[in-house]
């Protein structure tokens, strides 16, 4: 590279630095001094509002090898390659592979538990349907990158407690009206007033402090600094798709299904609860959807076996999410491409730490040491998962600290010693309560079997989800339980409500002031280096204290026919076939 070009690039970098705020400059520093990889920089930079073109300039200036952009997913694994060709455009929506002729993509989804309503949806089927016609400010993709959608850029103030989002001026709703800052404000306030499951208060948002600065700019003043705030306004907060002011003015339970309005690439054609839905291509989409299939049909299933049967019959081109047991008949089939992505979804095996016998950390450690985690993953998930280490900071999070604490492995001798030292050498009798959910019931039996090896006899109780969450989950007394936590782009939710002394989902009843202080530091940390350092302390503390066991993280499995490619999924349960194509 000649010196003139190098100089020109450095001048451009200086120019960018002058226009960037201190937090953004800190990320650039971290890249320049080798503390961030290129992928981490792209992720962190986009989180802080640096656009992809700007980040391209920074990367070019900071490293000699600047060609191309990274395409490797954060921990993404593929069992059988489906040949997906979808890419994400810099600063825009998805671009798609051109398709030849009219095309209908047929998918199968779990039936939404309740109506499609931006306030009420709280399950995978519901959010997957909702996300077809409606769009978010930001899409949190399977690589944990916040991809701009309705917001083309965003940035925090120096303290990280005021975030400004700049909307894409070309974005329009299906009725042709532009997506404005007023719509964003109405959406946040509408959901908050409707008391959505994903209450904004949890994320430090005061709905009254969301202001439309101008038609294309909206400003969030948070109750405390939050370095990961864009994730909370992304598809991770699945209720928060932006809908027009006019919708919110007439909002009532069920009103969304009258119009299915949104700004997305699909327009709803029909919806029959529990049966099916159909969408057609939005010909007036504000983004580039030139290669989008013409039509998408969704068939809902109550039982996964029905979806598998339908797939085997050729009734569906793709089933975006399927359990390992559901995928088993298809794993060796030449007519099915089974793919998976690694996710942060995990099960928490919690203890009631407020009373004997589980108030003694040695007892909790002992039980954690009885588990053979690789065997659990192999037996329960067919290998579609990664081991956990009794904290919820997934190894693919950029702030995960790999040097913090060694992986806990099965060690029955040490487990017995710990139990003896705690004064429970004669054994323990306790309940282990959980719910019917994928493999969790079997996990409970295996945990009970493992614990029995050191004289801990657990009586497994399995309940339907309503009974479990109402009567057992937070009411755990002298007992253990197992609960599921879905995927999130950042671990703040996992580290907050289930672990803080006053956390609303603290089933362990664990009280630890040191942890509370660490969490505050973690949530408000502006730079990744600091966050990783604090994460290391959190990992160590939780691994020692074991308020709950995290035995493994669960992969998200999808299945598609060999003739279909272009399925995009997230660990959260969103999916897109906008870039899909059919052959043959």
């Amino acid at each position: 590279m000649d010196r003139a070009k190098q100089r020109a690039r450095m001048e451009r970098l200086d120019f960018i630095r002058r226009r960037s705020n201190p937090v953004q400059n800190h990320v650039i520093d971290e890249l320049q001094y080798g503390k961030l990889t290129r992928r981490e920089f792209l992720r962190k930079g986009s989180l802080l509002g640096l656009s992809f073109p700007v980040m391209g300039v920074i990367l070019a200036a900071c490293a000699e090898d600047t060609a191309g952009t990274t395409t490797t997913g954060a921990g993404a694994t593929t069992t059988t390659v489906a040949g997906a060709t979808t890419t994400t455009a810099a600063g825009g929506g998805p671009t798609t592979t051109a398709a030849a002729g009219p095309m209908t993509v047929r998918t199968a989804l779990p039936a939404p538990a309740v109506g499609i309503d931006p306030v009420l949806i709280n399950d995978e089927g519901g959010l997957a349907v909702f996300g077809q016609a409606a769009e978010y400010l930001i899409f949190s993709d399977d690589e944990l990158t916040p991809v701009p959608v309705l917001a083309e850029s965003w940035e925090p103030n120096a303290d990280g407690d005021v975030w400004t989002f700049h909307l894409n001026p070309s974005a329009t709703f299906h009725d042709g009206s532009p997506v404005t800052a007023e719509d964003v404000v109405a959406t946040v306030q509408g959901i908050a007033e409707g008391n959505a499951a994903s209450a904004f208060e949890t994320f430090g948002v005061d709905p009254g402090a969301v202001v439309a600065v101008d038609p294309q700019t909206v400003e969030f003043t948070l109750t405390q600094p939050n370095g990961a705030f864009p994730f909370f306004m992304s598809s991770d907060n699945y209720n928060a798709a932006i809908l027009p002011v006019s919708f919110w003015e007439g909002y009532a339970e069920g009103s969304y299904e009258q119009s299915f309005i949104g700004s997305g690439p699909w327009v709803n054609e029909s919806f029959e609860p529990g049966v099916s839905a159909a969408y057609v291509k939005n010909e007036d989409y504000w983004g580039d959807n030139s290669g989008q299939p013409d039509r998408m049909e969704i068939t809902f299933f109550a039982d996964e076996a029905a979806a598998v049967t339908g797939f085997q019959e050729g009734r569906f081109d793709t089933v975006p999410h399927i359990s390992y047991s559901g995928a088993t008949p298809l794993l060796e089939s030449p007519d099915a491409n089974v793919t998976s992505i690694s996710t942060a979804q995990h099960r928490q095996i919690y203890f009631d730490t407020s009373a004997p016998p589980f108030d003694d950390p040695r007892v909790r450690q002992a039980i954690a040491l009885t588990l053979n985690r690789p065997s659990l993953i192999e037996g329960l998930l067919g290998g579609f998962g990664v081991v956990g280490n009794d904290h919820p900071i997934w190894e693919n999070y950029p702030m995960y600290n790999p040097d913090a604490v060694a992986q806990r492995e099965e060690d029955l001798a040490t487990a017995q010693q710990l139990l003896d030292a705690a004064g429970y050498g004669d054994g323990i009798e306790a309940p282990l309560d959980t719910l019917v959910f994928f493999e969790v019931e079997d996990l409970a039996q295996l945990v009970a079997g493992s614990a029995a090896q050191i004289g801990v006899n657990l009586t497994v109780g399995v309940y339907d989800s309503g009974t479990y969450y109402n009567d057992y989950w937070l009411a755990a007394a002298n007992s253990m339980g197992i609960v599921n936590y879905g995927h999130r782009g950042v671990p703040n939710v996992y580290l907050g409500a289930p672990l803080l002394s006053d956390g609303t989902w603290n089933a362990s009843h664990w009280v630890n002031e040191d942890y509370d202080a660490l969490f505050d530091q973690f949530a408000t940390a502006g730079d990744l280096d600091t966050q990783r350092e604090i994460a290391g302390q959190i990992q160590t503390l939780l691994n020692e204290e074991v308020p709950f066991i995290v035995p493994y993280y669960v992969d998200h499995i999808s299945v598609s026919s060999p003739s279909f490619s272009g399925l995009e999924v997230t660990g959260m349960g969103h999916y897109s076939v906008v870039g899909g194509s059919l052959s043959g």
Binding site: V114, N195, E253, G254, P273, E297, A302, T309, G466, T467
Partner: protein
């Protein structure tokens, strides 16, 4: 006759009222509250309370019941709490689906089991009799989910002859819909065949051994005439009652088959309603199934009186 019908309708209304009270009490016994079930486990309690207040599920149970029953008698079955749609709309579609599946099963099983039962009785003690009675009994004790899975694996997956997913694509014609319903109808046929065939067989045998049959034969009437006029007319009386009693099951009790074959009928809808503590949908659905049951029993009674001269409903 009209007095009888009116009395039966009156009794049916009382039965439905008692049924509605029982369903109402049952929904109150379901664990968890409605708001929690709709918003999910991670919603704040404030959010749950606010939703319960909006839906009216935090009101005294008697008021909720009165609101619902007083509207129901005018034909307004209310609004589904979980699906935010009119109950009549949801129930209407599901009922239509269940009727299609039930009707197909009926069309297959009734003539089949009647023929099987009559043949077994006429060939009493022969191999045919054994096949019908033992085979029918064996088929009856196979749970629907077992026969259903076997049918799916064999005929849908391996042979690919029939679809294993019962819901036909949108806009499908009659033949396509029928094709999708054949496999789910078979487990129902298997369950009902042995029951109806055995009752038919017992009735025919009893009629064949009756004095009036012997008299008719001694009078020199042709055997076919005796069987048609004297045997079957008397033998089918209990069979009609048995068939009528299965209508409720075929309309509202097919949860397993509907879930297994991916079919949105009344059974699955009621199952979802119970899971979501969706009282208006659940109670209305049970009432509709109960009403269908009552109507079928009334029709059975009328047919009974027509076939049996000894019974005079007037």
């Amino acid at each position: 006759m009209s007095k009888f019908v009116l009395r039966r309708i009156g009794l049916a209304l009382i039965t439905l009222f008692v049924l509605s009270v029982l369903v109402f009490i049952g929904t109150q016994l379901l664990p968890g509250d409605v708001g929690r079930r709709i918003l999910g486990p991670f919603a704040t309690q404030d959010a749950v309370d606010a939703l319960n207040a909006r839906l009216g599920t935090d009101r005294p149970v008697l008021i909720q019941y009165w609101d619902w029953i007083s509207s129901a008698v005018t034909g307004d079955l209310g609004f589904s709490i979980s699906f935010s749609r009119p109950v009549t709309e949801l129930l209407g579609r599901a009922l239509a689906n269940s009727l299609k599946l039930g009707a197909l099963a009926f069309v297959i099983v009734v003539p089949l089991s009647l023929a099987g039962g009559i043949l077994a009785a006429l060939k009493r003690g022969t191999l045919i009799d054994r096949i019908v009675t033992v085979g029918g009994l064996s088929a009856t004790v196979i749970p629907e989910f077992v026969s259903g899975i076997v049918l799916i694996v064999v005929f849908a997956v391996f042979l690919g002859w029939l679809p294993g997913f019962a819901t036909a694509p949108a806009g499908s014609g009659f033949v396509t819909q029928l094709r999708h319903l054949i496999l789910p109808a078979i487990p129902l046929v298997l369950v009902l065949f042995g029951y109806i065939a055995r009752i038919t067989r017992a009735g025919v045998i009893e009629a064949l051994d009756a004095d009036y049959t012997r008299t008719a034969i001694l009078k020199g009437l042709p055997r076919s005439t005796v069987i048609r006029r004297d045997v079957l007319r008397n033998a089918l009386l209990p069979t009609i009652a048995v068939i009528a009693s299965q209508v409720g099951y075929l309309i509202g009790g097919l949860v397993v088959v509907e879930v297994l074959f991916g079919y949105q009928g009344v059974g699955k809808l009621l199952f979802d309603a119970a899971r979501n503590a969706d009282f208006p949908l659940l109670a209305s659905g049970v009432l509709v199934v109960g009403a269908a049951f009552q109507v079928s029993m009334l029709l059975a009674d009328l047919a009974y009186s027509w076939l049996n001269p000894k019974i005079r409903l007037s």
